[in-house]
Structure formats: C-alpha cells, structure tokens
C-alpha cells in the first residue's frame, strides 16, 4: 500500500483507521487482531494529534504506511512533533483504583502497547517513527 499523509487533526482519524483496516484485511488478520491493531494505531495517532502537536502549538502531518511480509503486518506512523517514545511511559499506576480516584489521562499509550505484538520507536531527523507490528496468522498446513 502507498503511504497516506494526513493533517494531524482528529478528523484524520477516520481515513487513517480505514487505511489500517484495509491493510489488516489484506494481511489476513482476524477480526480480533484487526480491532487490536486499529486500537493501537488510533491511540498512538490520537496522542500525536492531541499532545505531540497540540501541546507544542504547532501544526503538522501524520504519515501512515503499511507493509506486509509472510509473517507480519507492519504499520508505521511518522510525525514531526517533539520527540516522544511511547515505550518509556510508565504503566498507569491507577489500574486497580476505583474510577473516581483515577486521573483522566495515561491510558491511551498503555492500551497501544498492550494491543499489538510489538512497538518499536525511532527519532531521527526531527521525526518520530512509531512502528507497530502484528504477526499474521499462520497458513493452515
């Protein structure tokens, strides 16, 4: 699939998700795996939009790219917001607390990390690169 460039706005979530779900279908992911991948990409992208660019008071784009091989579907998200590595964020310490004692934030990245088989991250040339990998189902013998 060709990469898709979108402005980093919440309105871009829908076309971004459609791109990812198309890639998931083409890769043969089942419904559950597709949902998890969609959730992870949604959370990372939402973070880029609502924190990465918004907190820095700048506009920018998000680029999504899908690549498939025999074993994996890889979704890459690129942005030019300030550097942010989702892997170094601590798990929310309020998982076991009652809802009325929990802070509003901290869950999106946690869900993303838990939903896909692997997340890698790079920061190079002022660009964040989030690389989300889902293993493809094994072909029946």
């Amino acid at each position: 699939m060709d990469p898709l460039t979108l402005p980093a706005t919440l309105e871009s979530l829908e076309p971004l998700v459609q791109y990812v779900l198309s890639a998931a279908a083409a890769a043969g992911l089942d419904r559950k795996a597709s949902y998890r991948l969609r959730l992870a990409v949604d959370e990372i992208a939402t973070n880029i939009i609502t924190h990465g660019y918004a907190d820095a008071h700048i506009d920018g784009d998000v680029v999504v790219n899908a690549s498939v091989d025999v074993e994996q579907l890889v979704i890459t998200l690129e942005d030019w917001a300030p550097a942010f590595d989702p892997r170094v964020q601590e798990d929310p310490d309020h998982i076991g607390k009652p809802s009325d004692e929990r802070p509003i934030g901290g869950l999106g990245v946690f869900l993303a990390l838990k939903s896909v088989d692997r997340i890698d991250y790079e920061y190079r040339d002022h660009k964040n690169r989030n690389i989300l990998t889902m293993n493809r189902p094994r072909a029946e013998a």
Binding site: D42, D100, I104, L107
Partner: protein, 112 residues
C-alpha cells in the same frame, strides 16, 4: 460507522445508548450526555453498548468523568458490550468499576 449517543432518564435511571465508534473525535458527545444526565441526579447510569462497535481510551476517560461527576454512590452498568470492548475494560481495570451485564436486567438495575 458514525457515533451516536442518546439519553433517556426514567425513574432517576439515566440510560445512554451508544452506537457506532467511540474515539477521541466522537467522545465529546458522550461526555456532554454524561454531564446532562448528571444534572438530573440519577441513582444509576446505564450504558447500552449492544451496537457500539469500537471504544478507544477516550471512552474510558469519559467513564472516569462519569464516576467523578455522579459520585461513587451511583452504579454504572455496561450492557451488551462486545468482546473486544470488554477486553479493553479488563485490560485497564475498568471491569471493577462498572457492572457488566449481557442484557438490561430490570430487577438488577431498577431495584438495586
């Protein structure tokens, strides 16, 4: 599928029906309905999710908002959530903060 959210309050039970996909772009409507329901001092909040296809962390944040807005004494029921949404609730510990039921149970909800 586009997100829709409707509120019905009867006998101080606030029932919010959610359909479609709930993400950061659509969660504002859900939050508004929670705020609207809270003004009516409900004794329970029922979230009808049979036709909710997707819920991101924005939905979870709205559950936190609901609990904080309505107080610890108001039970929150989640009705008919699909498996992946239930998984999200469990992954984040929210299954302990809501009462999940497969269907609307009058005895459980209205006579609690």
């Amino acid at each position: 599928m586009a997100f829709t959210c409707s509120l019905l309050v009867e006998d101080r039970i606030a029932k919010i029906t959610l359909t479609g996909e709930l993400d950061a772009a659509s969660a504002g409507g859900f939050r508004d309905k929670i705020a609207e329901a809270a003004l009516l001092d409900p004794r329970a909040l029922v979230l009808m999710m049979e036709n909710l296809d997707y819920m991101a962390s924005a939905g979870l944040r709205t559950l936190i908002f609901a609990k904080q807005k309505m107080g610890a004494g108001v039970d929150i029921y989640v009705i008919g959530a699909q498996e992946s949404i239930t998984e999200t609730l469990e992954m984040t510990g929210f299954q302990n903060s809501v009462i999940s039921l497969p269907t609307y149970e009058t005895a459980t909800i209205e006579h609690a």
